[in-house]
Symmetry: C2
Subunit: 600 residues, 2 copies
């Protein structure tokens, strides 16, 4: 019953108008991404998402994964056949380097397709999504032999990857991990310990599973400075690349979760499993963060993706369902009632969803192209700026993107009234699935602290200055045009709130770091509002340019301008309230002793 139609038209608009993919056509890493190819990839990827992956989404939710007595895990009906199709069609290879069998397309293209895959089937997409991060860690930190052994098969999709960080007693605070890595005589290590919440830790989709595992060597320093990263394959790999003995790593149980039932979330037991060091000893956290940053952007994308499919279904329902009459008099007098679309409060929820999904899509794709430019921009300065911007925005894309993604999914469920609460209509699954994105890969509170406690001040605030400079320039340019002037002024005002909040944090976070912590969530949301606002400015400017040039699709472009106006009127005002909250500081927040919270 749920509908899904990949938003290719909107993606194309963003790639052209916001990301300006064509401007990078001459850079390495972008050569293959001709407009025709990108269009073909979007169309075909969208089709695969809608036709193959989406029908399995409710199946995965209803059935979940099954662990058998021997520790093996079966994915829901249809997942294996769909995954084989996924691999055969080459979808895992999009963004991977050509030297390892990838197509070498820009991250921005893979991200665009990743949204479709995740909208269609969040649980299914994760099996591949985490593999991408594992590949990147191996590419950056692995030895030539490790790369040759693992990466080509992972790129192909025949092998999948995982990240193993969390243990029962620690998630955020990885310095506390207990998993041990004891050196063997041959240079490998014997890994022993228990990891929990391991997505895709065991399943029947791929021939081998390559685990990246944080563990401590016997004489490692205490805390996070004593963590190393190991690669631990489910099946050892023979010299000729064929699969060897089964390694001593197994799934102890599957977690029962609120959502993403189609993905196998495993407790993984390492019983002296053979692993190899990736990168330097005791530098495991840095190596894992390559994977983690990639994963955080991917999780932000999940927030958008769930919001998008929830939105599409809510729009459909609001067009079909007749209930009540327009406040201004019957809109369809021949019918017994008007559609939900006549009701302003239904419109409010749908316009918020429209403004946020389109704005977040632009932010995600702009972020993705910064990842590309970090590697491929023409000058060192450009590479540096891209790296600064994406470092700054990663916690915002993850934290704000998933907070808003969840909120949109909840509002779109609300459009359905009572039917939204009923499983068969599909809306409640989007809410349950979207919820995890706020939690995993660093809960959103951790993202907020990463932004405020680390990213703001890094390199003397260089990244933030670059961000503010972009806004100032584009606001100034847009003020000249009657179509975009008001929006530019609204963004300038919201950005002024963000700058004032930044100043407040600088002045008060030093004297008492709790002031920074107490305002971190609010600051992250303010930056989200401004960053998405910048995207809406670009979309408005592009729409205005095309309208001025007499573009054919005038109504669609006018709708962009209307949605930008809605964003300024209905979403940006939160920036002022968030600033006031932030400036409340830590005092009332930290005053009460914990026991007082329970004394009621």
């Amino acid at each position: 019953m749920p509908v899904y139609s990949p938003p290719v038209k909107d993606t194309r608009f963003v790639l052209d108008a916001v990301v300006r993919l064509d401007a990078y056509a001459n850079l390495p890493g972008f050569e293959g991404a001709t407009p025709d190819l990108v269009s073909a990839v979007l169309e075909e990827g969208g089709k695969f998402a809608a036709e193959v992956m989406a029908p399995l989404n409710p199946v995965g939710d209803a059935q979940g994964c099954t662990r058998h007595a021997d520790g093996s895990v079966t994915t829901p009906d249809g997942f294996k056949a769909a995954y084989d199709q996924f691999v055969a069609a080459g979808w895992p290879t999009l963004h991977a380097p050509t030297e390892f069998g990838g197509q070498g397309l820009p991250s921005a293209v893979a991200t665009a397709i990743g949204e479709y895959f995740c909208s269609a089937n969040h649980s299914f997409e994760m099996y591949h999504g985490l593999t991408t991060g594992a590949i990147n860690s191996l590419l950056v930190k692995g030895t030539p032999e490790q790369k040759a052994t693992y990466v080509p098969k992972m790129v192909e999709g025949r092998w999948t990857g995982t990240m193993n960080l969390t243990e029962p007693h620690c998630g955020t605070d990885l310095g506390l991990i207990k998993t041990k890595a004891v050196p063997n005589a041959d240079g490998s290590y014997a890994i022993t310990g228990t990891k929990i919440f391991i997505s895709a830790g065991e399943h029947d989709l791929s021939e081998n599973i390559i685990h990246l595992v944080l563990a401590k060597t016997p004489d490692a320093p205490e805390g996070s400075k004593g963590i190393s990263l190991f690669v631990v394959p489910k099946f050892l790999v023979n010299a000729d690349g064929s699969l060897g003995a089964r390694n001593a790593v197994s799934c102890g149980s599957l977690e029962h979760k609120m959502g993403i039932h189609g993905n196998a979330t495993c407790v993984m037991n390492y019983d002296g499993a053979t692993g190899w060091l990736v990168g330097e000893e005791n530098k495991g956290l840095a190596a894992m963060f390559i994977m983690m940053n990639d994963a955080r952007l991917g999780v932000g994308l999940q927030g958008l993706a769930q919001a998008e499919i929830a939105y599409q279904n809510a729009v459909q329902y609001a067009r079909d369902r007749r209930q009540g009459r327009a406040l201004t008099g019957p809109a369809d007098p021949a019918e017994k009632a008007d559609t939900l679309f006549v009701h302003p409060d239904v419109r409010r929820m749908l316009m918020e969803a429209k403004a946020l999904t389109e704005g977040l899509r632009a932010l995600m794709l702009w972020g993705a192209v910064q990842v590309d430019l970090t590697h491929h921009a023409a000058t060192e300065e450009d590479r540096q700026t891209a790296d600064d911007i994406i470092s700054l925005l990663t916690p915002v894309i993850k934290g704000y993107g998933t907070d808003k993604g969840f909120e949109v999914a909840v509002n779109c469920q609300q459009v359905y009234g009572g039917h939204g609460y009923i499983v068969e209509w599909g809306m409640e699954q989007y809410v349950r699935d979207a919820r995890i994105a706020q939690i995993y890969e660093g809960a959103n509170g951790v993202q907020a602290m990463d932004l405020v406690g680390r990213k703001l001040a890094q390199n003397g605030g260089r990244a933030l200055q670059a961000f503010f400079k972009i806004i100032a320039e584009e606001v100034a340019a847009a003020k000249g045009n009657a179509r975009t002037n008001d929006f530019a002024e609204a963004l300038e005002k919201a950005n002024g709130q963000l700058q004032a909040a930044t100043m407040w944090l600088m002045q008060n976070g030093m004297t008492n770091p709790n002031n920074a912590g107490a305002g971190s969530h609010h600051y992250m949301h303010m930056m989200g509002i401004v960053a998405v606002g910048l995207m809406w400015l670009r979309m408005a400017v592009a729409a205005a340019e095309r309208l001025d040039a007499g573009a054919e699709d005038a109504a669609w472009l006018e709708a962009k301008l209307t949605t930008a106006r809605f964003y300024a009127e209905r979403i940006m005002p939160d920036a002022g309230a968030l600033r006031r909250k932030l400036e409340g500081g830590a005092e009332s927040l930290m005053a009460l002793p914990p026991e007082m919270f329970a004394d009621r």
Copy 2:
């Protein structure tokens, strides 16, 4: 594993300080409610909730209800035995009139206990909760014979009640219902039709189920002016009060829902079932609204109740779980990590939960005493004012109470990190259960329109004026005191935003009613912020008075003042942003044609 401890101390504080139950001791309906009795009832009710009902909450979620081939429905293991205990202990009788076997205690007391029951087990509590509303409809609109036949057994709890409004094609728009009521020769009616989403429609807890059903007589006018209310018992009742023949009403199926699995949500088939008119023909909607208003207050309470149990568990987890270090340096150097309580962003979520649960509790109990005063206040003027206030606040208690209840449950789940997403920890059930409260008994968008489109202007705005007068008087009084001055000023400011928004609606809602609709959600939230703010002012004033008088529990009273300050700093700023959004008006909201929403 989940904890629940009834917040008796806080309830007592509210009943004393905010509701001032003692001030009404001389009024009819309050005589029995001596402080000692109320304390005993709260203690015992809390104990029953914690010991009998709470342990069944996860059982009900995991097991759900079962419909058998004969249409009978079995509730989860333990529910029947617990319900028998519930009846035997007299819990259903608290607020019911003594002439029908009730204890005649004030609604405020029953509401206080109702919170505990619902925190402990939302699904279980609903079987009784809806019965209360059905009793009230029968008491007001039923014939003496109907009252005598049904009410005593329903008060006792041996029979339960339901409300049957929704049909597959209509929920909010009841004018569209198709269920028919054809007169029989004996004055009864034959009821035929299908009703959906009927909570507690069929189950094994009670001996009989009394359905109140909306249907249309053969020559009824079109739309909502042609709806009548009927009482349709599952078993017909003999003249001697014993159960007679099974009526032609049955459960066709159970809905599969996101949450409240322990409550049987039924599709009910009426196949010429025998029913009797309640009240006048074609005046059924008014009769049902007696039940509905009661139910809406009850649903608001569910929002608070889910927030409360989620909060209690999050507090416990934050005290137990050690992860990371305080930003200001280790708080527990002897341990490997500090508790979650040192982290400002965890505190932010817990303080929001504390401020909102305590504030909403006060609002719910203040609302309940208005219900009492509507019937029992000494003068006609006082009865009128109480009725005005509760009419005005009912959509706010329902809409704002459940929106914030859900938000708090989500934030408290967030405190658990990954464990919050795992079923066994219990937090995700609170989120799923809390979600329904925003949807049923009139989705929150319907509440917002009830407030803005009906309640504001009713009787020339008399209710709103009364509300503003209370605020003005109490703000003025609190400004004199150093302990409460700042809070009073903050409330005055937030109320100023609400008044400005009211003015805007008056000026712009007339010319275009869509302006009222477009701002209704924001207005409802503004009024929620101010109403809960008034409660915090009262709590602050009471705490200050007691501190000045040298009360023993100084730290606890100081905590009230700190929480009030937090409320002013972190929650009230939203009022300004909501006003700005509201003043955006309907234009950008209503501009786009529905098909444009799908063109992406």
